[in-house]
């Protein structure tokens, strides 16, 4: 028996004899919160309220129609269209087309008031507003066949449909597809336009000579001045008696021009132990870089397009910062979406980088929105978001005898919402709600809104160690709305995206 197993044979009373009274171990607030939530679910204390939320609208539609008859008609071997027989004046139909033009589905919409909470962390107030919302009916597809899912392409990418940036680790993109062992430690940014590789740029790690250094690429963002590559380098400090320090992390931003030339790299070191670069905002003639300094401060650095530092500011929002997945330019500052140890927070910064507001939006029943894209257009802010309603873990293991059963559960517990907010006050003025999908990219055009939503198509899972690692494959649909949020159509893009989660 090894030293570490000495104590495992002791009874609780015996353990008490040797454990000091104040014997504890620290864990982050976020981890404790996750454990608490899981424990509550595992103890059966949190029921999956969602099902009603999601199922009721569909039931209401049918009832309002006065028919209550839902006919499912098989259109192809693995897709099913939905037709509500009968109609109500409150319900309108829109076509949804797939890659195969012969496959047309009907998406119903209706208007309703949804209650959305606005939590202002700056003054500690919460406000609930009833918001006019366009609700989409759930559109059904049979869950895709396993072999179809396996063969579908789910490369992660940044950028838009015209220019895509892939980040690959361990592969040299030489001759498009050659694995080069010598470059195993490299990150490679691949820029593609319509399936054609325009350029590749390598980011070698410092690995071989300095095995204790580590490099990671976090984000590639397209700007007018080319691609902004964001990453971090980790240096492990030598442990000495005086410095009980851990690793130190320093972010960097690299500019790559449109021809794939690496122009410069700006390393961030403002004297903090850690300085994580999180996002870049394109100002046209400069870049504003958002970073987390020692995890608890927002640092805002303005760089000119040659990588020179023009301005630096620091503010403390009052929570631990994990990511900044989105950041946009406002008329007089920036809006940054932060993932924190307390959930998603939106932070409004002044032009000088000072915090003006910290706030969040939630479903009225308390479910946090996870924001996946932010666009500022005119005097409005558009937020693409989704939320998931937790379900008891025990129900997962009893339900999930097959991938299809687990898929059904996930479908019932997920919904996307598009919030349209006033850019000055942050108040939600209208919304679009769609059940059983994840939200993704957003684009605002003169004629309306283009919103990518992801229909859960299939789930693979690995029941292991009391938890399920699930890989959720989602089929991407592109929905177009006019300027009044009325659905014009939803088109099946034929693309897939992966969502990973542990339940």
């Amino acid at each position: 028996m090894s030293n570490k197993d000495f104590f495992d044979i002791l009874t609780p009373r015996e353990l008490d004899e040797i454990l000091p009274d104040d014997f504890d171990a620290s864990l982050s607030k976020a981890a404790l919160k996750r454990i608490e939530k899981k424990a509550l679910r595992s103890a059966g204390l949190k029921a999956p309220k969602l099902r009603l939320t999601v199922i009721l609208p569909a039931a209401c539609i049918a009832l309002a129609a006065g028919v209550g008859l839902l006919a499912l008609s098989a259109i192809s071997k693995n897709r099913i269209g939905v037709e509500y027989v009968g109609s109500s004046s409150a319900v309108s139909e829109n076509s949804m087309t797939s890659g195969d033009e012969s496959i047309v589905q009907t998406v119903k919409t209706k208007h309703s008031d949804r209650e959305i909470s606005f939590i202002d962390f700056t003054d500690g107030t919460t406000r609930s507003d009833k918001v006019k919302c366009t609700e989409l009916s759930e559109f059904y597809t049979d869950f895709d066949k396993a072999e179809e899912l396996m063969n579908s392409d789910t490369e992660p990418y940044y950028g838009n449909d015209d220019t895509l940036y892939y980040v690959d680790k361990g592969y040299a993109a030489d001759n498009n597809n050659v694995t080069d062992d010598k470059s195993w430690n490299n990150y490679v940014i691949v820029c593609k336009q319509q399936d054609e590789i325009l350029w590749t740029v390598k980011f070698p790690t410092l690995g071989k000579d300095r095995g204790d250094d580590e490099l990671s690429i976090e984000l590639v963002k397209e700007t007018d001045a080319g691609a902004a590559v964001i990453g971090q380098v980790t240096h492990w400090n030598e442990v000495t008696e005086s410095s009980l320090s851990h690793s130190s992390v320093h972010g960097f931003v690299t500019r790559i021009d449109k021809d794939g030339n690496k122009l410069w790299t700006h390393n961030f070191d403002h004297g903090f132990n850690d300085e994580y670069v999180l996002n870049v905002v394109d100002n046209g003639t400069s870049w504003t870089v958002i970073s987390a300094c020692d995890e608890y401060n927002i640092c805002v650095t303005k760089l000119d397009l040659n990588g020179n530092e023009l301005k630096f500011a620091i503010s403390e929002p009052g929570f631990k910062i994990l990511h900044a997945d989105n950041a946009v330019k406002l008329d007089n500052g920036y809006l940054v979406q932060l993932s924190t140890d307390e959930g998603t927070r939106l932070v409004r910064l002044s032009d000088d980088g000072d915090i003006v507001d910290v706030f969040a939006y939630r479903e009225s029943d308390g479910y946090d929105y996870t924001i996946t894209d932010i666009v500022k257009s005119g005097d409005k802010i558009y937020l693409s978001a989704y939320y998931e309603i937790p379900y008891p873990e025990n129900s997962v293991s009893s339900y999930a005898e097959s991938a299809n059963q687990l898929t059904s559960m996930l479908v019932e517990s997920t919904a996307a919402v598009l919030l349209i907010c006033d850019a000055d006050s942050g108040q939600v003025t209208s919304c679009v709600w769609a059940p059983a999908v994840y939200s993704r990219r957003l684009e605002i055009t003169d004629s309306g809104i283009i919103w990518d939503i992801e229909k859960i198509s299939g789930v693979s899972f690995f029941p292991y160690a009391d938890s399920f690692n699930t890989s959720i494959k989602c089929r991407v649909y592109r929905c177009t709305f006019d300027n009044n949020n009325e659905l014009i159509n939803c088109e099946d893009t034929g693309k897939y995206n992966m969502v990973y989660k542990v339940v």
């Binding site: 570490k4 044979i9 009874t11 171990a25 608490e36 424990a39 679910r41 160690a465 009391d466 542990v502």
Partner: protein, 179 residues
């Protein structure tokens, strides 16, 4: 919050009770499981799930736990070890020693087991402070010397020296039993 207050709270309001226990002992439970599963490929989220299961199990079997037979902290640690071992069992065969460490003891072996446990207890208690806490943190929670040094406001080399001496003493005291 005392154990009696926690017990009272979890009986009256399970949600608040579980939240309080997680706040109070979640880190400890996580550390015990993490140490037990170190060297395996079990990831952090699975350790968190196991910690959550430990806390919910405590709540669901509340009537089984007698505070006269151990504090909430000690009960949670014991459940955590068993749950972690269940994960190990599911994923890899345990060594004989590990099986021995966690198996239900038969009546025939009870006397021997009790003696064994008493020997371990006496040996650990005889270390005195801060060596006892250092050894517990190192081998029960799997904390690094750096972390222990920061917590106990000592230097790392001091922690390492004390660990080394304490382990040597434990080896000596437990020599017969370890054979």
């Amino acid at each position: 919050m005392t154990d009696a207050q926690l017990f009272d709270l979890i009986r009256k309001d399970a949600g608040k009770g579980i939240a309080a226990i997680t706040r109070e002992y979640g880190g400890l439970v996580y550390a015990v499981i993490s140490r037990k599963l170190s060297g395996t490929h079990v990831d952090k989220s699975e350790i968190e799930t196991c910690a959550a299961d430990t806390i919910s199990e405590f709540y669901l079997d509340l009537d089984k736990f007698d505070l006269n037979k151990g504090s909430i902290k000690a009960w949670l640690c014991t459940i955590a070890v068993h749950n972690a071992v269940d994960i190990l069992r599911r994923n890899m065969p345990l060594s004989l020693d590990e099986e021995k460490a966690v198996s239900e003891h038969s009546p025939e072996n009870e006397f021997e087991d009790r003696e064994m446990r008493r020997t371990v207890l006496d040996a650990v208690k005889s270390l005195g402070e801060p060596d006892r806490e250092i050894i517990l943190r190192k081998y029960y929670l799997g904390e690094s010397s750096v972390k222990i040094a920061a917590r106990l406001k000592m230097t790392v080399s001091n922690v390492d020296t004390r660990t080394s001496r304490a382990v040597e003493k434990l080896r000596h005291d437990l020599e017969d039993w370890r054979k």
